[in-house]
């Protein structure tokens, strides 16, 4: 081989490196800066080392916000993933109604987050909202502004309405890619409907499901706009999720140091969980292949 060694191709990575630096790394570094310093404004910083981190790890407020956040994501995943699969299985496969369903399903996904929040904020009001007033007329004691359980139910129903379509559409795409021969073979083997789902549809959907679960986990774990608009974190602190608490701390109380330490840990938790999740799923996948 008379090829000359030339590593100049590495320079082609530079543009990406620059973009990523400006979009993510440099802003993150300012957060890192705040997290290890104390400041009273005027660009004066006092070194605090890992003090804020220690405070935050020990903080009860953090613990309860994290607890609510984990519970919220768990409920969201437990509802949206099975429901999305169920909807995908029952959507028409072709023709006018297939396109109709696709458009209908995609609509909630296209609505801006704060609009979704506003829609539900009004929808749920007892005085003028269709849902709230309707429930009140039926004699149900529903008021999301002063009942914690009602607030939770409202936010969860809203998120299910907003995001189940994403899971359903991804699963639908996965289902559409299964060749007819599989269904014919299953019929010849006299497989039950459950077996067809368990051994043909679910394995073929596993790839898109992995993406759906990851996206829904990350998004629900970072949820901010919708509950902020609907409940503002209340009643009390009952729907104060991590982002809402973070914003309160940073912009409300101007505790920039603790808030910075907090957000770095928040970021690391999401990164860690996503990484563990992805690694576990892909190694399981590979183990099956062996």
């Amino acid at each position: 081989m008379d090829k000359t060694q030339n590593n100049k191709a590495w320079f082609l990575v530079l543009p990406v490196l620059v973009i990523v630096a400006f979009s993510a790394v440099i802003p993150l570094m300012t957060v890192v800066n705040y997290s290890v310093n104390d400041t009273f404004g005027e660009n004066e910083f006092f070194w605090n080392g890992l003090g804020w981190f220690e405070d935050m790890i020990a903080s009860d407020r953090m613990h309860s916000a994290l607890g609510r956040q984990v519970l919220f994501s768990a409920i969201i995943l437990a509802i949206e993933v099975p429901l999305g699969i169920f909807i995908a299985l029952h959507m028409p496969k072709k023709g006018f109604w297939a396109s109709f369903c696709l458009v209908l399903m995609a609509l909630p996904l296209l609505i801006p987050f704060n609009v979704v929040g506003t829609i539900w904020q009004i929808f749920g009001r007892v005085d003028i909202g269709l849902l709230g007033h309707g429930l009140a007329s039926l004699g149900v004691d529903y008021n999301y502004t002063n009942d914690a359980l009602d607030a939770w139910i409202t936010i969860i129903v809203m998120d299910v309405w907003h995001w189940t379509s994403l899971v359903a559409l991804l699963c639908y795409a996965g289902l559409q890619s299964i060749p007819q021969a599989y269904y014919q073979a299953a019929r010849i083997d006299q497989a039950s409907r459950w077996s067809v789902f368990r051994f043909i549809e679910l394995p073929k959907m596993s790839g898109v499901l992995l993406i759906a679960v990851l996206l829904r986990f990350m998004d629900s774990f970072m949820i901010y706009t919708e509950p902020f608009v609907v409940t503002g974190g209340g009643p009390g602190n009952s729907t104060t999720f991590l982002s809402i608490d973070l914003v309160k701390m940073a912009v409300g109380q101007f505790d920039l140091g603790p808030a910075a330490a907090f957000s770095i840990m928040y970021f690391l938790v999401i990164l860690l969980v996503s990484w563990v999740f992805y690694t576990v799923m892909t190694t399981l996948d590979n183990a099956e292949t062996k």
Binding site: P179, A181, Y182, Q184, A185, R187, I188, D189, Q190, A191, S192, S195, F199, I200, P203, K204, E288, T289, K290
Partner: protein, 361 residues
């Protein structure tokens, strides 16, 4: 196991077919013997997959009946017909092991565990996969997966027929040959009726006892490979089978003579006056180039394909192929071709005409 009867079978994808052209499958009436190995051969779009799907029950024929033995199965579902099918692309249950895949049809039918274990062991040994029974099916090669699909069909003892829909499409060439041999062997051992759809004449001719040649929605001939070669019932069979296919020439037939472009060719037998468009057909294998008497040909090119040579030539302005043995020298003076008289077939409007009895010269 059962003999398959296609009774006045026809199929149209249109709701109200009028003309013959509306039918994807023209009316046919055939009995396929129990335990036979049949190949459905034809070019794309000739209706062979439609016919296979009618037999397997995926498509319900618009006209006529399908009988397995004495039982009319026309209105029965695929599952009720007790057939097995191997598809073009390997269909296996990815998350199951090979063993679970093979056991699946039996388990669904509620057989007892000991019987299932014995059957699976037996079939695994037949398809040569005993050593991989505990592996997941997902990571296997295409040919192994095709073997599993086949095994899932054979594991049921009561299976009426095994259908193959171009099963070797995705298999590597060197594995094709092995799988075909194995299939043939399994057919001998088990005696299932096997129906094999393909557009590859080599696959059809090596696999089947009887080859069913289809053309334009019609079964044009059912015969042994030898019959298809020597006495093609239709000009399509003539040029589709063989490499290169049969030479066909317009000719006028009178008794035991054929006249083409003013030249006379003697036929191996005598024919009644032929109505319609008359042609004679001769296989390239039965033509020989000579410097003596014969029809005048212009040589274009000689292709050496190893065991023999293919001579591409012109005969009265029409492409004409001959096969010359390996060692034969082709001289510049060899501009004539002679046919083996008893190998000449006569066609009227594309269908073969039988010779008159006792008309041999």
């Amino acid at each position: 196991m059962a003999q398959i009867t296609l009774k006045n079978l026809a199929h149209s994808y249109l709701p109200n077919p009028q003309a013959e052209a509306d039918f994807a499958l023209k009316e046919m009436d055939h009995v396929w013997q129990d335990g036979g190995a049949y190949a459905l051969l034809g070019s794309s779009g000739c209706g062979k997959t439609t016919l296979l799907n009618i037999i397997s029950g995926i498509v319900r024929p618009s006209h006529g009946r399908v009988l397995f033995g004495a039982r009319d199965v026309t209105d029965e579902e695929t599952a009720a017909r007790n057939i097995a099918q191997v598809f073009q692309f390997p269909v296996v249950y990815d998350t199951m092991t090979v063993r679970e895949n093979l056991a699946f049809p039996l388990r669904n039918r509620g057989m007892d565990a000991a019987y299932i274990a014995a059957r699976v062991a037996h079939i695994a040994q037949m398809i040569g996969m005993e050593d991989r029974l505990n592996r997941k099916a997902r990571g296997l090669t295409a040919d192994a997966k095709q073997k599993i699909s086949l095994g899932r069909g054979m594991v049921r003892e009561d299976v009426n027929a095994i259908l193959f829909d171009e099963p070797l499409t995705v298999i590597d060439p060197h594995m094709k040959w092995e799988l075909r041999t194995q299939l043939k062997q399994l057919h001998r051992q088990l005696g299932h009726t096997m129906i094999y759809v393909t557009h590859d004449q080599t696959e059809a001719l090596t696999f089947a006892d009887k080859v069913v040649v289809m053309y334009d929605g019609r079964v044009v001939q059912i015969g042994t490979p030898e019959e298809l070669f020597e006495t093609p019932a239709h000009t399509f069979v003539g040029y589709f089978i063989g490499s290169p296919g049969m030479n066909l020439m317009e000719a006028t037939i009178t008794g035991n003579r054929a006249h083409l472009n003013g030249c006379e060719v003697s036929l191996g037998a005598s024919y009644a006056p032929v109505a319609g468009r008359s042609q004679i057909g001769i296989r390239p294998e039965y033509c020989s180039l000579t410097s003596g008497a014969g029809l005048p040909v212009t040589l274009r090119r000689v292709e050496d394909v190893g065991r023999h040579r293919i001579i591409r030539a012109d005969l009265f302005g029409q492409a004409f192929n001959m096969i010359a043995p390996e060692g034969m020298a082709i001289g510049a003076d060899m501009t004539r071709v002679v046919f083996a008289p008893d190998k000449i077939n006569v066609f009227a409007d594309d269908w073969r005409v039988a010779a008159q009895a006792g008309g041999a010269v």
